[in-house]
């Protein structure tokens, strides 16, 4: 009897297995900056992470044929748009992954909605992706400027940094980050005493730093990214600004930036990230595998490309098809995602992925035990506190 039951279960499982193995074709396009300022924090690393996700998901064993291609958008919206169109219309791509640089991401989000594809955004920061320019086919996975403002801005203001001066990159992303952080500073009882908008990109920040010094602010908020942030911090230390008692708040900084600065210069900085390689066994294990291929530790953008792809593939598997982008994103919204790198994640009605964010402090050279041993974790910011509440008109789960 028992034998019979076991046999029939096995047969049943086989039947179900073959029903599942219906050859789902999925094509993923990793679109990011592969040669410019953001090439290290996204670039080839995101393509590697996406391929790792396909492998770890066990796509082949589940009867899914997943192909991953990649291209360089050069941080130019027109270049990014052309590639996205070509991918959807000609090459049969189902989802576009990563897309840092907000201006490019916003353009690709529109095209994705038109083509009924899926945008799994990891690298871009603008909150517009899930607010004034929200789309039913966008999933914004890793971070946004509001989360950064809430993390670093809130922590620094509460730690006594009441008077702020902003050094802001003069383009959409910088403005958005500055605006979000100003709101958080004022909410926490702080005050904004001035700001200066610098051209993007800039090499020399001494003049702007001197203006910041003259403002009498406690904190100089750096609303910029990449090489600009690195240069500003380097020069602030050179001009004795940090030594004279003013502190710096790097509002967006990646582990690769800190690595580039070195702990000597970057020590003590507060920063907000969604992921750090040395958080737990799962992140360490994954990061070690990533490093084997890339030669460096992953940034949160790489981790986001991996996790978003995992969640996407799970949704496609459940649906049995990747053709209808809106349906796939709707399925992702229903799922309870328990991710090895991001923990518990839910995708909200507006496409914003809600997960914990972390406030880190850069270690001093004495504390740091290796090239990539860079952060101490200070606190966890729950997803609800980190991200902005959803706008009603962007809640696509209702329709």
């Amino acid at each position: 009897m028992l034998k019979k039951l076991a046999l029939s279960t096995a047969v049943g499982a086989l039947a179900a297995g073959s029903a599942l193995a219906q050859d789902i074709d999925v094509k993923l396009g990793v679109l990011n900056d592969r040669s410019g300022t953001y090439a290290d924090l996204s670039g080839e690393g995101s393509a590697v992470a996406t391929r790792m996700a396909v492998e770890d998901f066990g796509a082949a064993e589940k009867g899914m044929n997943v192909e991953v291609i990649s291209a360089d958008h050069q941080n130019k919206p027109d270049v990014g748009s052309n590639i996205a169109r070509q991918w959807y219309d000609v090459d049969g791509v189902n989802a576009i992954v990563d897309v840092p640089t907000s201006s490019v991401a916003l353009a690709v989000a529109d095209i994705t909605a038109e083509a009924n594809g899926v945008l799994l955004d990891s690298g871009a920061g603008s909150t517009s992706l899930t607010r004034d320019q929200c789309q039913p086919t966008t999933v914004h996975w890793t971070y946004d400027t509001a989360a950064l403002a809430n993390g670093t801005g809130g922590a620094v203001t509460n730690a006594g940094g009441e008077k702020w001066f902003f050094l802001t990159a003069d383009y959409a992303f910088g403005h958005s980050l500055e605006e979000n952080t100003m709101a958080v500073v004022e909410e926490n009882g702080g005050e904004v005493v001035g700001n200066v908008r610098h051209p993007f990109p800039s090499q020399d920040f001494s003049s702007f730093l001197l203006q910041a010094q003259g403002s009498g602010a406690d904190v100089i908020g750096l609303a910029n990214a990449g090489g600009d942030t690195v240069n500003a911090i380097k020069q602030a230390s050179e001009f004795g600004i940090t030594q004279a008692g003013q502190s710096l708040a790097a509002l967006l900084m990646f582990v690769t930036d800190v690595h580039s600065l070195g702990t000597q210069t970057a020590q003590g900085l507060n920063l907000t990230e969604a992921f750090y390689w040395d958080q737990n066994d799962a992140t360490r294990e994954w990061s070690a595998r990533f490093e084997e291929e890339m030669g460096s530790k992953p940034t949160m953008v790489h981790a986001g490309a991996y996790s978003a792809t995992m969640a996407y593939l799970a949704a496609v598997e459940e649906l049995g098809s990747a053709e209808d982008g809106r349906a796939v994103v709707a399925k992702m919204r229903e799922m309870d995602i328990d991710d090895p790198l991001f923990g518990k994640v839910t995708v909200r009605g507006d496409g914003r992925a809600i997960h914990d964010m972390y406030l880190f402090e850069v270690k001093s050279p004495d504390e740091s035990e290796g090239e990539w041993d860079l952060y101490n974790e200070i606190s966890t910011i729950s997803g609800e506190d980190a991200f902005l509440p959803m706008l009603d008109e962007c809640d696509f789960s209702k329709s």
Partner: protein
């Protein structure tokens, strides 16, 4: 105390000094370009890439061989200069009889290749290079805190700039050089090895870029794009000063550093464009440049 447009004089003084520091980089870089153009008639678009390369060489010397800043200040320009000589011998020398455009395209291509190679091996985020021990810290001037290293940058660049000018305009060697570019056949007939002189001149111009690169390494992030970001501005400086004018390149470099510094106070958003606005105006009014001899 006087006040200019609501800016207190201390602030103004500080900004002028900072402008002078940035002008130092412009001056050394545009000087190298002017030497190469003035004496070889080559528009050297690889200048920025070679500047970046020297910063990387300084970093490598420290990282792999433990050789510090001071030896690197001599070694890196020599190494990059030697690389320049190699480029001149193997490629550029084949183009002398052709239009300027060919040299420009060749060096532009070389710049892209060099940058691409460094990007491939070292990534884009940049590498740390500390200020040498002897020059760390700074002094309070009353109106601003002047890091010792920046003061050194100004002194070193002024010495190098005027040394170069003196050598080319006032010495016998400089006279040979100028004569050799004016009429190579005639100078060659006097028994002077003209190709050798031209090769060494290119190497020297490149070494100047290398010197600026090492000067820049401790204050700017050492990354493959550092030259590309700067080279366009430096070309504008050379055009404003007058292509090929040695003194013009030096003075314009410092002057535009000052103008840019002031723009950063009065209208920071415009500081990236102000040099190009000046370039457009100069080209309209005096196409040969402020110090140019011929159009």
């Amino acid at each position: 105390m006087f006040e200019l447009l609501g800016i207190p004089p201390q602030v103004l003084l500080g900004q002028l000094l900072l402008g002078l520091i940035n002008g130092s980089f412009y001056a050394v870089l545009s000087l190298g370009l002017a030497v190469i153009f003035g004496l070889l008639n080559i528009i050297n678009f690889a200048h920025g890439a070679l500047y970046m390369m020297a910063a990387f060489v300084a970093w490598m010397l420290l990282e792999y061989l433990g050789i510090g800043y001071w030896p690197a200040l001599i070694l890196a320009p020599l190494i990059v200069g030697a690389f320049g000589v190699l480029l001149e011998r193997t490629m550029l020398s084949r183009l002398y009889h052709l239009d300027h455009l060919y040299g420009l395209l060749l060096t532009f291509g070389l710049a892209l290749i060099i940058q691409g190679l460094f990007r491939n091996y070292y990534g884009i985020s940049g590498l740390p290079y500390q200020i040498p021990e002897a020059l760390s810290g700074g002094r309070n001037l009353g109106f601003m805190f002047l890091p010792n290293y920046r003061a050194w940058v100004v002194v070193a660049s002024i010495l190098v700039c005027f040394g170069t000018w003196f050598m080319i305009e006032k010495t016998r060697l400089g006279a040979y050089l100028r004569a050799a570019t004016e009429n190579p056949t005639l100078v060659g007939a006097f028994g002077i090895n003209v190709p050798l002189m031209i090769m060494l001149t290119y190497g020297f111009g490149v070494a100047l870029a290398g010197f600026a690169g090492v000067l820049a390494a401790p204050i700017y992030s050492v990354n493959p794009n550092m030259g590309a970001d700067l080279i366009i501005v430096v070309f504008a400086v050379v055009v404003i000063g007058g292509m090929g004018s040695i003194m013009g390149a030096i003075l314009t470099g410092y002057m535009l550093g000052l103008v840019e510094g002031l723009t950063r106070v009065f209208y920071p958003e415009g500081s990236a464009v102000v040099i190009f606005v000046i370039m457009a105006i100069v080209l309209l009014i005096k196409p040969e440049g402020l110090f140019g001899r011929t159009a």
